[in-house]
C-alpha cells in the first residue's frame, strides 16, 4: 500500500489522495480539529464526531469484513449505559466510567457474536437485529438501573481534572475537544488494525470466504474477533455520546440506531477509511438543515439516500476514490 509509485501520468488529484491515504489519521484529525469553527454550533460538531466514530467501528464489520450487522445499536447503547450507570449509580470518575462502558460493550459483542457468527448474509443481519432488540428490552425493563422509558438522567461531568489543567465540560468547545481526544486515539488504533496482517485477513474474508478458509484461516473466529473489536469502538462512541448528552435516552438502543449507522456507512462509502465520517457529516448536517425547514426531514433524507444507492453505490468517498483512480 505504501509502495512508491513511479509516475505514469497520474494527476495531481491522485497524488493528493495518495498523500491523504498515507497519512489518513493525520488527515482526519486536521479536519476534526478545525471542525467546530466551520459548523453553526459545537453540539452538532460533537454529534458528528461521535457518530463518525460509531460508523467507523461499524465499518470494520460491514465494510472490511463484509458482514452486515443490524444490531450495532446494542454496543453503542451499552457503551452509553455503562458510562451512565457508573457515573449516576456508583459516582465513578470519567476515567473509570468510560473504560467500563467500552468493556461492557465489548462483552455484549462477545456474546452476540458467539450466537450470531455461524449464520451468514441476511440471517446474520436478522439474528443480530433480534439480539439487539433483546438488549433493548432487558435495559428497558431494568428501570431501577436504566431509568426505563425516561432514560438515564444526570450523567453529567462538569469538570475534568487533568492535574495540570481544569477543563469545564460546560463549555461546548472544551467538551468537543475532550471527546476529540478519545476519538483521535480510537482513529489511530483503528488505522493500525486496518494496516495490520489481521486487517488483511478481514479483507480476504470479505473478498472470498472459501479461499480464506482453504488458506488455513479460521474464518469464524476471525469474524468473531472483528465483531468484538467493532463492538469496542462502537461502545466508546456510545460512552462519549452519554457524556455529550448528559443523559442516556432509551432510543439509543433502538433498532433505528442500527439502521442509522448502516446508512451513514453506505452514504460515506463502505470499506473506506474516511467514508464513515463523511457519511456522519452528511447525514447529521442534512438532518440539522432540513429539520429547520420541515418536520418531514426523513423524507428528504430518504430521497438523498435512494439517489446515493442508485447512482453512487460506492458512497460519497468511495465514488470520489473511484473517479480519481480511473
Amino acid at each position: 500500500m505504501s509502495m512508491t509509485e513511479t509516475d505514469n501520468g497520474a494527476g495531481i488529484a491522485a497524488r493528493v489522495t495518495d498523500f491523504i491515504r498515507r497519512h489518513r489519521v493525520a488527515a482526519v484529525l486536521i479536519v476534526l480539529v478545525i471542525f467546530p469553527f466551520v459548523l453553526p454550533y459545537q453540539a452538532l460538531a460533537s454529534n458528528i464526531l461521535i457518530f463518525g466514530l460509531f460508523a467507523l467501528g461499524f465499518n470494520l464489520v460491514f465494510g472490511y469484513t463484509g458482514v452486515l450487522s443490524f444490531g450495532h445499536a446494542a454496543f453503542f447503547g451499552i457503551g452509553a449505559y455503562g458510562v451512565g450507570i457508573a457515573i449516576v449509580h456508583f459516582g465513578w470518575p470519567w476515567f473509570l466510567a468510560i473504560p467500563l462502558g467500552v468493556v461492557a460493550a465489548g462483552l455484549t459483542a462477545m456474546i452476540m457474536g458467539a450466537l450470531a457468527i455461524r449464520t451468514r448474509g441476511i440471517y446474520f443481519a436478522m439474528v443480530t437485529l433480534a439480539l439487539a432488540q433483546c438488549v433493548y428490552y432487558i435495559v428497558y425493563q431494568m428501570d431501577d438501573w436504566s431509568g426505563g422509558e425516561d432514560g438515564l438522567t444526570g450523567v453529567s461531568i462538569r469538570q475534568v481534572d487533568l492535574g495540570f489543567a481544569q477543563l469545564s465540560l460546560l463549555d461546548p468547545t472544551v467538551k468537543y475537544y475532550f471527546v476529540l481526544a478519545f476519538v483521535a486515539v480510537a482513529i489511530y488504533l483503528f488505522s493500525r488494525i486496518l494496516a495490520s496482517p489481521f486487517g488483511a485477513v478481514l479483507e480476504a474474508i470479505r473478498e472470498n470466504e472459501d479461499r480464506a478458509r482453504a488458506c488455513g484461516y479460521d474464518v469464524r473466529l476471525t469474524k468473531w474477533l472483528a465483531f468484538v473489536i467493532s463492538g469496542l469502538f462502537c461502545g466508546l462512541a456510545g460512552a462519549l455520546y452519554a457524556i455529550h448528552l448528559s443523559v442516556v435516552p432509551i432510543e439509543i438502543l433502538h433498532y433505528h440506531m442500527s439502521g442509522q449507522v448502516v446508512m451513514m456507512a453506505l452514504l460515506g462509502g463502505m470499506g473506506t477509511f474516511f467514508g464513515p465520517f463523511i457519511g456522519a457529516i452528511v447525514y447529521l448536517l442534512l438532518e440539522d438543515i432540513v429539520t429547520s425547514m420541515t418536520s418531514h426531514w426523513q423524507l428528504v433524507l430518504g430521497l438523498v439516500f435512494m439517489a446515493c444507492v442508485l447512482f453512487f453505490p460506492r458512497g460519497i468517498w468511495g465514488s470520489i476514490l473511484h473517479w480519481i483512480r480511473r
Partner: protein, 252 residues
C-alpha cells in the same frame, strides 16, 4: 498394489450421501507419499466428492480420512490447511480485488500471522519476498502488481496454485487444474504441476485422459461412486473394466 511409498493420505470406507443420493459408496484408497496420483472416472463417478472429502471441504457421511494414519475426518477446513493439505478449487477461486502479490501474501501469512493486530503490513518484507518467490515459481512475477480479477483465466489458475503451495503443503490437491485453459496454458500449467510434484505429494482430478496418462505415477479410477481400479498408468490402461467403462459409455 504396485506402488512404493507409504500412504500419506487415505480414505477408508468413505461414503457420502446427499439426501437420498449416494455420491460415493464405501471407497477405500491410499495415496502414496511423493507420488502424483490422478483420480479419474466418467462424469458422476464421484471424483469431486472424493476430492472434497480429502481436502476437508466436508466430512464423509461414513468412513475415515487418514493423514499419516491419523483420522482427520470431521475436522474443519482450516485444520486441513494447517497440517499441510492444501487445495485448489475446480472453479477459479481467488481474492478478486486484491493484487496478485497480495493474494499470495495472504496465503503465506496464514501459516504464521493470523491475529497480529499491530505490525504494519508494509514492514513484513520477508512475507512479501516469499510471496514474490511463489509468483516466480508459477510464472506470474511480472503480473504481481495487477489486480487478480484482471488476469487471464490461465493466469488466475496459476495464481491459485501459487496460493495453494504457499503453506508448503505435504499434500497438494488440484481439482481440474487445466479446466477451461487453452492448449498453451495447459502445457505451461502442467510444467508447473510436474515441478511441484518433486516437492510434495500431488493428487489431482482431471478430465483430459492423455494428460493424466502422461504425468501421473498412480491412477485411481472411480465409477458410479464406487472404486473401480487403481495402479500405474500402464496397468490402468490395460484394465478391462476401465476400458469397458470408458469405451462403452463414451469417451471423456
Amino acid at each position: 498394489m504396485s506402488v512404493t511409498g507409504a500412504p500419506i493420505l487415505a480414505v477408508r470406507g468413505a461414503t457420502m450421501r446427499f439426501g437420498g443420493f449416494t455420491a460415493l459408496s464405501n471407497v477405500t484408497a491410499e495415496f502414496p507419499e511423493g507420488q502424483l496420483t490422478a483420480i479419474i472416472g466418467p462424469n458422476g463417478a464421484g471424483k469431486s466428492t472424493l476430492f472434497n472429502i480429502l481436502s476437508g471441504a466436508f466430512p464423509p457421511t461414513e468412513g475415515e480420512v487418514l493423514f499419516r494414519g491419523r483420522n482427520i475426518a470431521g475436522r474443519r477446513q482450516h485444520h486441513f490447511a494447517r497440517i499441510g493439505i492444501s487445495k485448489s478449487f475446480q472453479i477459479t477461486n481467488i481474492f478478486p480485488d486484491l493484487t496478485a502479490l497480495e493474494n499470495v501474501r495472504i496465503a503465506v501469512q496464514a501459516m504464521t500471522m493470523r491475529f497480529d493486530l499491530w505490525t504494519p503490513r508494509s514492514r513484513l518484507v520477508a512475507m512479501e519476498e516469499r510471496a514474490a518467490e511463489l509468483l516466480r515459481d508459477v510464472g506470474l512475477i511480472e503480473h504481481q502488481r495487477r489486480v487478480a480479477s484482471e488476469l487471464a483465466h490461465g493466469e488466475q489458475r496459476a495464481l491459485e496454485i501459487a496460493m495453494a503451495i504457499a503453506c508448503e503443503p505435504k499434500v497438494l490437491l488440484l481439482d481440474e487444474p487445466t479446466a477451461g485453459m487453452s492448449p498453451e496454458e495447459t502445457v505451461e500449467i502442467m510444467r508447473v504441476i510436474l515441478s511441484l510434484a518433486e516437492r510434495c505429494t500431488v493428487i489431482l482430478v482431471e478430465h483430459k485422459m492423455k494428460l493424466v496418462m502422461d504425468i501421473s505415477n498412480h491412477i485411481l479410477v472411480l465409477h458410479h461412486g464406487e472404486f473401480l481400479a487403481e495402479g500405474t498408468p500402464d496397468q490402468v490402461r490395460a484394465n478391462d473394466e476401465v476400458r469397458r467403462v470408458y469405451l462403452g459409455e463414451g469417451r471423456r
